[in-house]
Amino acid sequence: MDLCYFAVDDGYAEAIIRGLRAGFLNEAQYTQMKSCTSIPELKSFLEETDYQNCLQADQPQIATSLLRQRLKKKLADEFDYIEAQATGTLSKFLFHLRCRFMIDNVVNMIEGLKNKIDIEVLLSNIDPLGWFPEIKNIKVLEGDDYANLYRDVLIDTPIGVYFMKFLDESIENMHENRTMNDIQNLFKEMKPEYIRTSLKKMWLEDFFRYSEENLPQTSKEGLVSLLKFEADFRTIQVIYNSIGNRDLNTVARIQTTRKQLCPTIGTLYPDCERQYLAAAQLEALREAVKGTENYRDLLKDAPDPLKREEFNVSTRTLDDIMYDEECRRYALAFDGQGSYAVFYAYLKLKEQEIRNIVWLAEMISRRLAKNHPGWKKIIIPFSHLRK
């Protein structure tokens, strides 16, 4: 029944996304890009595709980081346009989508400030999708007072609620006789990846709860399955990356870290939780997930994380396998009308495409031989759909 009245509020935005979907690069275009021999050639090729105007103002020998910024700016402009056309439920939904990029930006800024990088440089490198007005207020306060930074500045940002939860959780995990110094040291030493993964986990859970409660039926079905899948992937990734990690040397520490980083939504959550939290090797992880969906097949080919030093460019790592499966599922989200899942899927697939183009630009600028295995590392969105 959604189809009868979906178009009233959200039909235009959805139809724009469908039009934009036709602008994705296909396999023939990727082959042409791979055969480019220099960056100016790649740039002129991109100007004939959907990316026509965003690279016009730059010189032919464009730097890869600037290329990435321009492509992301185009995506951000498209997204801004769609958000401007959206009303009601859809506009809240799209705002939620942006929060993920805001988390990335804030963590990058904090990390950059810790390493004493100039704030102007940091501001010019932020992801334009995650821009919000308060981002200029993030400066390191005197005396490396990170706890106060989190408490005073970041609370005002749209993602402040996630920082609150993060603060509460981290402080709770410390021992009883904690002092202010302990808390300061905790934040000074905490790795940015840890912060980022924690925050994104909280964002995912929040987003899931929002989808389950507020969205119309068709959107809910599509999104719930995509988000559960993403949560399962994050869980598997966290466990995989923490196997054999030298920093986590006690079992208790491994368990608490994993528990803090694995999302509590998804098909793996309550059933296999005890098993995967205790997995100390890849085999144990495979055992834990074997009953669920196709994760057993996915993990079958994954390389052993304990032999991480032997990985090279041609190994098909877990990340590659997972990106592949993700792209397949996001492409399937386009197969229905009247659902918000297309907005989410479009964002993810466009990001994948930008990653592909930047990777190819890197490969071209290093002038690697054409039989280098890195050329095969790109994952083309919608590739499994074309004949």
Binding site: L3, C4, A7, V8, G11, Y12, A13, E14, A15, I16, R18, G19, L20, R21, A22, G23, Q337
Partner: protein, 193 residues
């Protein structure tokens, strides 16, 4: 026009009305009320269906045309199919209005009343059948039309195939009109009775 109160044809007084059963009260609802309500239903609900269909398909057409301007003219067919539904409603309403009239001379009230009541009910339910089928037809064509616009923007070959579905959908409104014409053909409002 004859000087008869069609809401109270037997001239009952207050006491007789007070002792009337509910069934009798229902029967004595003015037949012309039923007739014109039928006309309103036929027209109004058909147009609701057509409007619903047009706004659903129009929105998707607008959005999809932004990135794929070539679909613009072809997909106006979906809007035309929805519009046809409104035209069916107008045609039926005009036919029905043409049939309805009040008798000039009334000789025998009971037979006259019976005939007019029969025609009134026929008009009402004609209007209801035509209106309801056109309402659903309009929505169906609209939803299909919006899917048509979107998939045409993505893959041009799908347009003609989806158009076939729309044609089947618009046949629903036609069924309503055909049945409505037959149903209302028996309704006669005699000039003298």
């Amino acid at each position: 026009m004859a000087d008869v109160d069609w809401g109270n044809p037997f001239g009952w007084n207050e006491q007789q009305w007070a002792s009337a059963t509910w069934s009798q009260r229902f029967t004595f609802i003015n037949p012309f009320f039923w007739s014109y309500l039928g006309v309103g239903l036929a027209l109004g609900t058909s147009i609701i269906g057509a409007a619903w269909g047009i706004f659903i398909t129009g929105v998707s057409l607008l959005g999809a045309t932004v990135k794929a301007p070539r679909i613009r003219s072809k997909n106006l067919i979906s809007v035309i199919f929805c519009e046809a539904v409104a035209i069916y409603g107008v045609i039926m309403a005009i036919i029905m209005i043409g049939k309805i009239n009040s008798p000039d001379t009334v000789a025998d009230i009971p037979t006259c009343y019976t005939q007019i009541l029969f025609s009134g009910y026929a008009m009402f339910w004609t209007g209801f059948s035509v209106g309801l089928s056109n309402l659903i037809c309009g929505v169906a064509v609209g939803v299909t039309g919006s899917g048509c616009a979107i998939s045409d923007a993505q893959t041009p070959e799908t347009f003609v195939k989806i158009l076939v579905i729309e044609i089947f959908g618009s046949a629903l409104g036609l069924f309503g009109v055909i049945v409505g014409i037959i149903e209302s053909s028996n309704a006669t409002y005699p000039k003298t009775c």
